[in-house]
Symmetry: C2
DNA sequence: CGGGGGATTGAACGATCGTCCAGACGCTCG
DNA sequence: CGAGCGTCTGGACGATCGTTCAATCCCCCG
């Protein structure tokens, strides 16, 4: 049973542990993520990390799966907008300073690097990417109902390429104007 | 003095050591790069690695600097083509299966991840990126002399974004057709 | 030939790694 | 109350890490 003594403002310990993993990963890469560093950052004992996550692989996998939700959430719109405006807003949101933080971008990059180095993490990553593209295609078809499913999927894939490049280039420190132009390019790909 | 006993087909030991670093980095990420693993992969003793590169940071920095040349070389054309054709060829080459290998892409990603985690490696990376973009702008202006220097630089930056996304997406396993479309997009950005 | 210096080796150091485990804590239920 | 159970702690294990170092090798020069 979860504790939930009502007086405690502190988050669930498992949450705190995953937060710590993501924070360390974004800050110093995978080499900065040791079981002890995670425990210290989360403010729990070393033993507890291994208690909740049997080994390091499972710990990192759990942390990675927690980023997925955040990525897909980028596409979730305020539902009361017209479909086209909803799509425009979703495409603009990837460049929103609120989401496009260094920490988030760095996290993304480390996730990709991990996926390239370990098969297990690669699966988590490709699954997330597939879900993201499907959701994007759905938004496009809502805004342009005359498109075939295949056409919408193709446009979603093209947008994904530019967005990946946009994220990556933002991380590497390009100026904001070329990012704005890239967002505009995504809009025109989506809406012709 | 370098040995260079003429009978030996084996490369310089320092070269072999850097090769080993890059191979391990591409294959298993930074966690796979230990001094011992590098020595084993290069077929030399552990001590020699530390003899040529005083510590691990300097070893990796030397390896990263060796990738730069390869990146810039992507833009170097056969000199006997017309400027526009030279540019088209350079832009197409980033998607050439000969360069777009998994090993090379993975290496690039690990480089970016490293740059994000350590200041020292970040400097190496941004320097290389700057040189790449300048060289690309030069090619564009050769093909379109009527463009101002600023316009050419702007186009080079836009192309860099799409190319980064192209590389990244190729690495993440997207289909070849969307890559081809992205190459075409780079061409039209460059030549209007 | 004898010596000097760069190249190369592998053993050894202390630190840190992931994992394991015996036990303590706090809570519920019979 | 006491037995049971999920939660949590920190010490201990062997493995591996980066680094250091004395000793050896090889080759050129005097």
């Amino acid at each position: 049973m979860a504790k939930r003594s009502e007086g405690l403002p502190e988050k669930d310990r498992q949450e705190r542990i995953l937060d710590a993993v993501l924070h360390l990963l974004a800050e110093g890469g995978i080499s900065a993520v040791s079981m002890r560093a995670v425990a210290r950052e989360a403010g729990v004992s070393l033993g507890l990390v291994n208690y909740h996550y049997a080994d390091k692989t499972r710990l990192i996998a759990a942390a990675l799966r927690r980023i997925e939700a955040q990525d897909i959430a980028l596409l979730e719109p305020d539902a009361d907008l017209a479909p086209e405006e909803r799509l425009r807003k979703a495409l603009a949101r990837v460049a929103d300073p609120e989401f496009l933080t260094t920490a988030y971008l760095s996290l993304r990059l480390q996730l990709w690097a991990l996926a390239q180095a370990h098969e297990e993490f690669e699966q988590i990553n490709t699954d997330a990417q597939k879900r993201y593209r499907a959701e994007l295609a759905r938004l496009i078809r809502a805004a342009r109902p005359e498109l075939s499913r295949a056409d919408a999927a193709r446009r979603a894939a093209d947008i994904d390429v530019v967005q990946n490049g946009l994220w990556l280039t933002a991380l590497l420190g390009l100026d904001r104007r070329s990012i704005a132009r890239s967002v505009e390019r995504c809009v025109s790909i989506a809406l012709e």
